[in-house]
Symmetry: C2
Subunit: 274 residues, 2 copies
């Protein structure tokens, strides 16, 4: 794995870095094609939104892109870009002069379940709490770690509910369901991470003849839906089904089948974007 | 500052440490007297509870104590003990073989506002969400960082409320109020960090003739109370008052004054404990 810290090859950071001490920072997980992150504009916008909310100075955009290119493999791969508030003295108060730490970690070849498979979806007991930076991808990820530890042998992902029992996301992806020809996804005004692919679908599904909107989703509504989908930088757009649902009776329905085909085409289009 | 990493002098950790990547770990902030942490048994119990919940192997207790002694100054000082799940590969899934990282940071002389002062308490806008590890002191501390950034010039601390508007804690301490001769503190079954001094008071205030219990506290109830107190390893037990409350009319009340004196004596007793 290739790691660059503030642009220099290296593998270690200071123990007093506030990224370690408090999770005081944000990150992006990116799919690189030929050294360039797919949907970069959306990743960059989310990164900056988090940094601005935290009051951490933004890194240079071109520095990030250059370092991601240096850390990339020649094959499609995943990379991670982390920006923390950098080293600080004892206590929660940020230092008067902030020297952010920028970490680029590349070199993990893209490794996803076979694309024709329907991903198997469990339900995690760990609940998603209100986020201190709703929608942003900050470094406080214990909920995801705890939820990931719950995956059973036959799960590819795990749904996560909020304290009120509403479905909010999956362990490392966003969730959509198809209901009466409409794509629905949980609102994230207070919870979770607003994924780049989720954002793309909200903006572009209409152009593919697929109405899409945010709504409140109970687990029962997910169960009764015509189809479930997950989105993430790694997966793109992928069909999923609850592990408890063996059959998929609605697929025989001609209307549903044609919508599923349109969604599949839209996913291929999105995955091909640079 | 003296830093020991897994027992060795050093100041850096691996960038792939899950403490940085996800906040996957716990910590304790300790007051050291002659190299020994005060109320150690309570700190150790909370540390272990967090590690057990996360499935991170516990370090040796004697190793921790030895390293805290090595990192301590000859004067009363603060130290921090961090235990993370250690380095890991990409993704939330813990590695099959966990090598925890143990970090001891010592050498910060105890520095607290003058003990005769009543600490000035603001109210933070940042809300406390439900904790993935209620009561435990985990490394996901963005809420505290955001709340700390809200402190005004004339604040010594900031109260934090949950989403429902109930007072839960302060930025870096627990909260008690005195109401009709009874000490009250917010319940923390789902939110916040259960402080070692808070726990000591819940267990021992009765022996000082001071009834104490957990309850739900609105900001209005805090305002109307006879006195407000903060507890932490650093502060011990300290009187506080909302910055918006200039006068303290109840202090003239003879009954209240004698209870305040008993609370002060209890605080001195607690602070003298090894």
């Amino acid at each position: 794995m290739i790691t660059l810290i503030n642009g220099e090859p290296g593998s270690r950071i200071e123990a007093i870095d506030r990224g370690l001490q408090f999770g005081d920072g944000v990150f992006e997980t990116l799919r690189l094609e030929a050294g360039r992150p797919a949907l970069w504009a959306r990743h960059w916008m989310r990164l900056c939104r988090g940094l601005d909310r935290l009051g951490i100075p933004r890194p240079g955009e071109q520095d990030c892109l250059d370092e991601l290119a240096r850390a990339s493999l020649q094959v499609p791969s995943m990379a991670k870009l982390i920006v923390t508030r950098g080293p600080g003295p004892r206590g929660y108060a940020p230092p008067p002069r902030v020297r952010p730490t920028r970490i680029v970690m590349g070199g993990a070849p893209l490794d996803i379940p076979g694309t024709s498979d329907i991903l198997r979806l469990g339900v995690c007991r760990t609940r998603v709490a209100r986020s201190p930076l709703p929608g942003c991808k900050h470094l406080n990820r214990l909920e995801n770690v705890l939820a990931r530890r719950e995956w059973a042998e036959d799960w590819d992902e795990g749904l996560m509910l909020d304290a009120a029992g509403r479905v909010r996301c999956a362990t490392q992806s966003n969730v959509f369901v198809l209901e009466a020809g409409v794509l629905l996804t949980p609102g994230l005004s207070a919870h979770g991470v607003a994924g780049t692919r989720r954002g793309w679908l909200l903006d572009h599904a209409g152009a593919f003849g697929l109405p899409v909107r945010e709504t409140s989703l109970t687990l029962e509504r997910v169960r009764r839906s015509d189809a479930v989908f997950l989105t993430s930088a790694r997966l793109g757009l992928r069909r999923a089904a609850l592990v408890t649902q063996r059959g998929r009776p609605t697929d025989g329905n001609l209307g549903v089948a044609s919508v599923l085909e349109r969604i599949r085409e839209m996913g291929e289009h999105m995955n091909a974007l640079g």
